[in-house]
Amino acid sequence: MKLLTKTTLYYILVALPLVVLASIISFRLIKSEMREGTDEALKYELHLAKDLIKKGLVKQKQYLSIDSLSFVEPSFLHNSKKRIADTLIYDKYEKEYVLFRKLTSYYTANEASYCITILKTTIEEDELIEGVLSTFFIIVGLLTIAFLFSNWILSRSIWKPFYKTLNELKRYDIKNHEKSNFSTSNTLEFNQLNDTLNTLINKIYQDYIQQKEFTENASHELQTPIAIIKANINLLMQSSNIKEHEMEQLQIIDDTLKKISSLNKALLLLTKIENHQFHKTEQINISNVLYKIVDNIQELADAKDITIKKQIQSNVCITMNAMLSEIIILNILQNAIRHNIKGGCIEINLSDTELIVSNSGEPLNINPEELFIRFKKNDASKDSVGLGLAIVKSISDLYHFKINYHFNNSQHYFTLKFS
């Protein structure tokens, strides 16, 4: 919800009960004031009537006004109390009942009693309510318009630096960090906000760069020590007086080193992809790449008695980095071999829009959603580093492809959709 909408809404929320309350109070005040006024007028006319009686001018029923409503008449009753009450009288012209204030009083003069009845129209309650409410709503309406207008003016001037900062923040992309340029304003709070944001962004950027560089640097720095160990294992192996069990230990060291080395290579590749270091793109004929890689891995598949069925549409072209196109396909296919069973099968299906690779194999014992996360791997695959699918994911992210996994009929399906 916009700031303006929100303040307006709160304003209305506060204003509405106030209006209702104010209306009720004013209604009551106006009503009692008016009644008082009417009653005063009634009393005044009562005096006039009494004067008439005193002067002995009243002999029989006599109307006091031209509307033939107020009158004086001789009466046998006598009640010293005067009564004022509301009464409804049918107006034959308007054809409706009209509210009147009616004063009834008895008066004794010249040894005769008289009844005085005086009537005066008074404003009706519903009319009064209508009047009061409409007045108030007009006031509220005008105030709201004035408020919205002033708010709009304010948000354009006072809030201007804020919206500028906001736009600046929206535009900010950590991947191509430019020195953020929050303009200074004459509002203390906004200047503080901008300063804080500047500090924060710079800090985040520093951390981002450090983290980005760390893995790459660490992997790089590891290459030479690994090379030294490897070279020395090679030299030790050549020694003629080395014993059998020592050779076995060397073998273990060599195997472990190989694992470290491939882990390091995979990590380095992953960070390079994520750091966008493969800028060069060209039109790649994916069909040909696929043929070539299937050819390369055929031997690995044969060793596990895995049959590869392929349905490859020719000349499917994608614009991407040549090396990454091979890596992504190789990793998907290697994965299909690694997690396959002896005598299993792999089906490869390439169309214009997608590559589907399915393979037989044991169901996953990890959450399928974690499949593409670094170092998440099936317990059974001890030998794998656990980065192959993470690399697939990061390449497909780089080119906005979509990689999906599902398991159906004891087949693992990997679908790579080219955007």
């Binding site: 050779m247 073998q251 060793a303």
Partner: protein, 229 residues
């Protein structure tokens, strides 16, 4: 055979030097750009192994200098960077091969041999080990003059063994040599065994001596008594 090794890490320099020395090469080394560029200018080498990231300058610049000086030396880049760009840049400048660290010394050795062979320094087009003759240009193998039909992998394996003859070659090194990036993938030891068994069978069928010795479990040794360089 004179080799110049340009590598800034002392341990690695020492190990490579020792291994190549045992192979019968004359190895000189340089630890930084200035030393390397001086040596490369003053002396003639058959092969130069150069690291790209060096103190005081880039290895790529040394390659440039060598090429400008019309050096005939074969150049192999040994780099920790393993970046395609470096590889392309280096090869564009005229380097002959690119080997990413970490590498097996046996692999380095086979690359040096292949390079030297390609440049035909020894003046012959054949590799001859006793009864085995290899014609690398045609990827052909003959035993006692009779051709042996080897698969691509068997041929590569044989060549790798011969480049590292009388040396213990680890299974991991063989796997990496034969399958490259796919090597991590496979139960490489079984694979090597299958290819080796077939290679052996084919050679023995032609009355070739059985040169391949299994070394405990770690690897193999292609043992010949004759030493040819």
């Amino acid at each position: 055979m004179k080799i110049l090794l340009v590598e800034d890490d002392a341990h690695l320099r020492k190990s490579i030097k020792q291994y190549l020395y045992q192979e019968g090469y004359l190895v000189e080394s340089a630890s930084d750009f200035i030393e390397a560029s001086e040596k490369a200018c003053v002396y003639d080498y058959d092969c130069i192994l150069v690291d790209i990231t060096l103190p005081k300058g880039s290895g790529l610049k040394i390659i440039q200098q060598l090429k400008e000086g019309n050096s005939k030396a074969g150049i192999i880049i040994i780099s920790a960077k393993n970046s395609l760009e470096d590889k392309i840049n280096g090869l564009d400048l005229g380097a002959d091969d690119y080997l990413a660290k970490p590498f097996d010394l046996t692999e380095l050795n086979s690359r040096i041999k292949a390079l030297i062979r390609r440049r035909n320094f020894e003046g012959n087009k054949f590799i001859i080990i006793n009864e085995i003759t290899i014609i690398p240009d045609e990827r052909q193998v003959k035993v006692h003059g009779e051709p042996v039909h080897l698969t691509a992998k068997e041929y590569d394996l044989l060549l790798f063994f011969i480049a590292n003859k009388n040396r213990v070659v680890s299974k991991n090194a063989i796997a990496e040599h034969l399958w490259g990036d796919n090597a991590d993938q496979i139960d490489s030891h079984d694979f090597i065994y299958v290819h080796l068994r077939n290679l052996r069978k084919k050679l023995l069928e032609k009355n070739c001596a059985d040169y391949v010795q299994t070394i405990y479990g770690i690897g193999y040794n292609f043992k010949t008594n004759e030493i040819i360089n």
